[in-house]
Symmetry: C2
Subunit: 129 residues, 2 copies
């Protein structure tokens, strides 16, 4: 085994330009887990798995989702549904999220058009040089 590299909390924080407090907070509310804490110093260590999770969290935030919402979406990625009922529930959730996202994309495209229109309005009113 290639002895997977692990990160300290401040390494991870620097990586994503956030504070250590933020990472601890995400763990506090159960969105991250620090496996294998040093048994003596109690220091947290993170692997690539947690790094990926953190990346997903931050992407979600940039898109305007709340942490609870993001948590559900991550659970979608990581869930291993038992039974047809559970699978159906998850697929339904995915579908509703997909609709929400597509709606959001459409609204953003409209906003983009609006801004472009106004921008051009100002550009055309500029003095020709």
């Amino acid at each position: 085994m290639p002895e997977e590299k692990v990160f300290t909390i401040s390494e991870l924080a620097a990586m994503f330009d956030i504070s250590s407090r933020t990472i601890r907070y995400y763990e506090e509310i159960g969105m991250l887990t620090s496996e294998n804490r040093d048994s003596l110093t109690k220091q947290r260590t993170y692997t690539n798995r947690e790094r990926r999770r953190l990346k997903m969290i931050l992407r979600g935030k940039k898109l305007g989702f709340g942490l609870q919402e993001i948590r559900e979406m991550i659970e979608l990625y990581e869930s291993n549904p038992e039974g047809e009922a559970e699978k159906s529930r998850i697929i339904a959730f995915a579908d509703s999220k997909l609709r929400e996202i597509e709606e959001q994309i459409m609204q953003l495209q409209m906003l983009r058009e609006d801004i472009l229109t106004y921008k051009e309005k100002y550009e055309n009113s500029r003095v020709k040089t």
Copy 2:
């Protein structure tokens, strides 16, 4: 003149499924103005102009923007820049917003693909009926 229709605060609130408090709050922080308040009863009245503004605010919120950010974008719509410097500033702001929006659209499309992938993973693991 066609005597433009005006709305009461609760009419407007019902229209967008928000509370009256929210509308007063938006006025409080200067994102809405209630022109022509009844000089005796002090009741707010709104015209289509304010209705459109409110619509823009709520769209922005759904897209994950903060109220201050939305305020700047609305000012973009309503500004009447004097002088070349001011125009350049506004066009630069529009450009930066456009880039931000396009980035957000890309991220959302990636998120959409991700969710689709996971959804299909579950669908393919379902028992054929």
